[in-house]
Amino acid sequence: MGTTASQLGKDLLSEYQELTFLTKQEILLAHKRFSELLSKDERNLPNTRVSMERILTLPELKSNPFRERICHVFSTSDQKNGSLSFEDFLDLLSAFSDSATLEIKSHYAFRIFDFDDDGTLDCGDLEKLVNCLTGETDDTRLTTDEMRQLINNILEESDIDKDGTVNLSEFQHVISRSPDFVSSFKIVL
């Protein structure tokens, strides 16, 4: 089951409403924006996948430093190339929506920050994460000393079982103490 022609069927719409945190208007808007990314003949095919480059032309994702990781996390493609189908796109918007719970947001945030996909955040992941946050160019990175000091501090604060990595529960513990997370982890079309 996937997108059929250019209109969403009523039962499909209600199914999406049940399975995601999106309202009816948000799903219809998402369908419209997704169809704009497709070429004319692709629109009539069911289950089309949009390549990552075309998804990243969306203004909401264009300048986000985590855009590639977001595409990889939500993509269900077999080639692991970050392409998204319409249902992947809805999953993405559902996790970033207004009404999504803290658990689902922290779950996906963890997966986005896990650059090597090994289920924990180790020093390499944290370094890449900090570089994304401060800017990719050479003059916007932190110095090596600062980076080392920062990563030590982060591990000291959040690594409770002292295994040198941050796992999901420790990550969620940090998130739960921050009141702004739910409102900042939001992408609205």
Partner: protein, 681 residues
């Protein structure tokens, strides 16, 4: 999928309960487990719960669909009562979602605040949030006052009722605020700015309201509304402080877990466009660098030798006295200016207007100069950045509010002839009736002038100082302008301006009932002016400060202002004799006496009931009950704190157990491999 499914079903029986809440990946798996074969204890019939389950699963859409099919096959036919329950929970949820949508639509300035936060950071956004809170507070206060004082007053004035005859000396009753003879046009403007002339005898000031003989006791309503107004503001501030305090406590005071929360939760995914993204990245980088530098400085400071420490502390003590000296000098200046202004209050024309506004001018000048000097002092003291900001706030707060107190005490000493109400000018009417025939209106006018002047100064600073500065810096690019640079939006000074303005309004509301409305309009104008200057003239701050602790501190300072205003009100209500020539309390010895008078006109049963509530037989059990409730809550809080510590220790122990088991497994594996190798040889 097959091996994963078998794996999950093995874990399923032990971990089934936990998996229902959060689907967390095991340490070596990329995709979360889902319990395909739930145990018998999970066969819930409540359909809404399964729906919640589905959306909170971190699975792709295809898998969620499959899960739903499995669950639908398991659910037996629902009875009619259960389907009714299902429908009810569904409608409740849609109502809640719809309600939340409406509430977010009604929230004032939501998009603007998001834009400000994204571009300039949390510190500047906290100022605008505080300003919005004050606008809403003032608006609802105006509705309260309007409903109970203004509208009945208008209604009763239109209805022709008899004026109560006021007794007292003839001289005390002389009061004629209406302007005499020909009034020049520019006098209207002067009157508008200072609240005299045609504005004095209007609904704006206390003097217009009167004691009409009707079933709605206007004086009682006036006093009780003022009291409720203060109580309402107090409750709003405390509720908001509670939220801010809870956040501070939950985040452990902001210092612990700071780096992790910046890195894990710092990014705002709503940032659109390259410019906003770069700004946010700069912000985060500066924040991290500032925190890391602060930590390094702390380590350095701890490594100082004894003689260096002694030098530093003696420097700090001497700078403290210097700061106190500056503040005392400014306060003395305000005192002298107020006396002078009151002495020359009869002067006409522009010079008269300058003399009238002299206290406000001196207060503003002092508030501008002294913080600059204190900034220089702070650079000598070398405290860490957060302490520096809090100290700057404290010093500025003391100066601002003390300036107001000096002004008020000067006024009061003149109205009551330095407290001696039986001598000199005050002998006849117990207040200085020659200079202040209607002293309440005069105080209302002073507060009105302060409010207006504050707004005018803000707008003048905008036009005359901030825009030209930006134009200069942008068009010329020599060394001087680069060094001066664009303006930075200084949050503490602006917040103190708001607190000062609000304190003035609180002090003046008893005597100028429309002041909350004027203040609402003033703050709305101020919001747009500050927003304009922020986006046009300011650059993002290089040093950011933690907004969570400072939010709490802003509200604490606001509470201090409320406390001062309450003391002023209590003193005016209880001690000073009301004017005999104007106002709703003109025939009473003091304003408070309206309450006992009205009390005795209530029915006997109500009187006995109220006496009972005030007596010891009621208040002592009430006090004991509140102590018991407080003890219970304290015990609960300590139990939660202990269980949090226990859970953390448990997590640590589990981690160690896991490492131990992994080591044992490795050892066993090596032992098993060794005989194989020796057997294979």
């Amino acid at each position: 999928m097959e091996p994963q499914r078998q794996n999950s079903s093995y874990h399923g029986d032990q971990q089934s309960l936990r998996l229902r809440q959060v689907s967390s990946p095991a340490s070596n798996q990329n995709h979360p487990h889902f319990n395909w074969n739930p145990g018998p204890e999970e066969d819930e019939v409540d359909g809404s719960e399964t729906q919640q389950d589905l959306r909170t699963l971190g699975l792709p859409m295809g898998l969620k669909r499959a899960v739903r099919q499995v669950q639908q096959m398991k659910i037996p036919v629902v009875s009619s009562s259960d389907s009714w329950k299902l429908k009810r929970t569904k409608t409740l949820r849609t109502i809640k979602a719809r309600g939340r949508e409406v509430l977010s639509f009604l929230t004032l300035w939501k998009k603007t605040l998001q834009k400000i936060g994204g571009n300039f950071g949390g510190g500047v956004k906290s100022y605008f949030l505080f300003l919005r809170f004050l606008v809403v507070l003032n608006f609802f206060s105006f509705l309260l006052i309007g409903g109970f004082i203004l509208i009945p007053s208008i209604v009763l004035t239109s209805v022709d009722t008899q004026l109560v005859n006021s007794t007292g000396q003839e001289e005390c009753l002389e009061y004629d605020p209406n302007p005499q003879g020909l009034v020049l046009f520019y006098d209207y403007l002067l009157d508008l700015l200072s609240g005299t002339g045609f504005m004095e005898y209007s609904f704006l000031f206390y003097g217009y309201y009167s004691m009409k003989d009707s079933s709605y006791s206007l004086p009682l309503a006036y006093l009780l509304t003022a009291v409720f107004y203060f109580a309402f503001c107090l409750i709003c501030i405390i509720v908001r402080m509670g939220t801010a305090a809870r956040v501070t406590v939950a985040t452990g005071g902001g210092a612990v877990g700071n780096y992790s929360s910046i890195v894990f939760t710092g990014w705002d995914y709503g940032c659109l466009g390259d410019r906003a993204t770069k700004l946010k990245q700069n912000n985060i980088r500066y924040q991290l660098q500032v925190d890391l530098e602060e930590e390094r400085l702390k380590q350095q400071a701890a490594a100082l030798t004894a003689s260096q420490k002694l030098l530093l502390y003696s420097l700090r003590v001497s700078m403290f006295f210097v700061a106190v000296g500056f503040i005392a000098a400014a306060l003395y200046g305000i005192f002298v200016a107020t006396e002078f202004s009151q002495g020359r209050s009869g002067d006409e024309g522009i010079l008269g207007l300058v003399f009238e506004y002299l206290p406000s001018i001196i207060i503003t000048a002092g508030n501008f100069v002294v913080p600059l000097l204190c900034d220089q002092i702070a650079s000598v003291e070398k405290y860490p950045p957060t302490v520096t900001i809090i100290l700057a706030l404290l010093r500025a707060v003391v100066l601002r509010l003390a300036g107001l107190i000096v002004l008020l005490s000067t006024l009061w000493s003149q109205i009551t002839c330095n407290g001696q109400t039986t001598s000199g000018e005050c002998q006849l009417c117990q207040y200085d009736h020659k200079n202040y025939p209607c002293w309440e209106s005069r105080i209302g006018q002073e507060m009105y002038k302060l409010t207006l002047f504050d707004l005018l100064i803000n707008m003048a600073t905008l036009v005359l100082a901030e825009f030209p500065r930006r134009l200069l810096v942008d068009s010329w690019s020599n060394k001087l302008t680069q060094w001066v640079g664009r303006q930075e939006f200084v949050v503490p000074a602006n917040v103190l301006g708001l607190v000062y303005g609000q304190t003035v309004v609180w002090t003046g509301t008893l005597f100028c009932p429309l002041l909350p409305l004027i203040n609402t309009i003033k703050f709305i104008v101020l919001f747009y002016c500050k927003k304009l200057t922020l986006f046009q003239n300011c650059r993002p701050a290089l040093k950011t400060f933690r907004s969570t602790t400072s939010n709490f501190f802003f509200l604490l300072v606001l509470l201090l202002g409320l406390g001062i205003a309450t003391m002023v009100m209590i003193y005016s209500v209880a001690q000073i004799h009301p004017s005999m020539a104007c106002g709703p309390f003109r025939s009473l010895p003091n304003i408070w006496s309206i309450v006992p008078n009205s009390f005795y006109s209530l029915s006997d049963v109500t009187q006995e009931f109220l006496f009972f509530i005030g007596s010891q037989a009621f208040s002592i059990p009430l006090f004991t009950l509140s102590c018991v409730v407080m003890c219970y809550i304290i015990a609960l809080a300590s139990v939660y704190g202990k269980s949090v510590a226990l859970l953390r220790a448990q997590l640590k122990a589990e981690g160690k157990d896991k490492q131990f088991l992994v080591k044992q497994y490795e050892k066993l594996r090596q032992q098993l491999q060794m005989p194989e190798q020796s057997g294979g040889l």
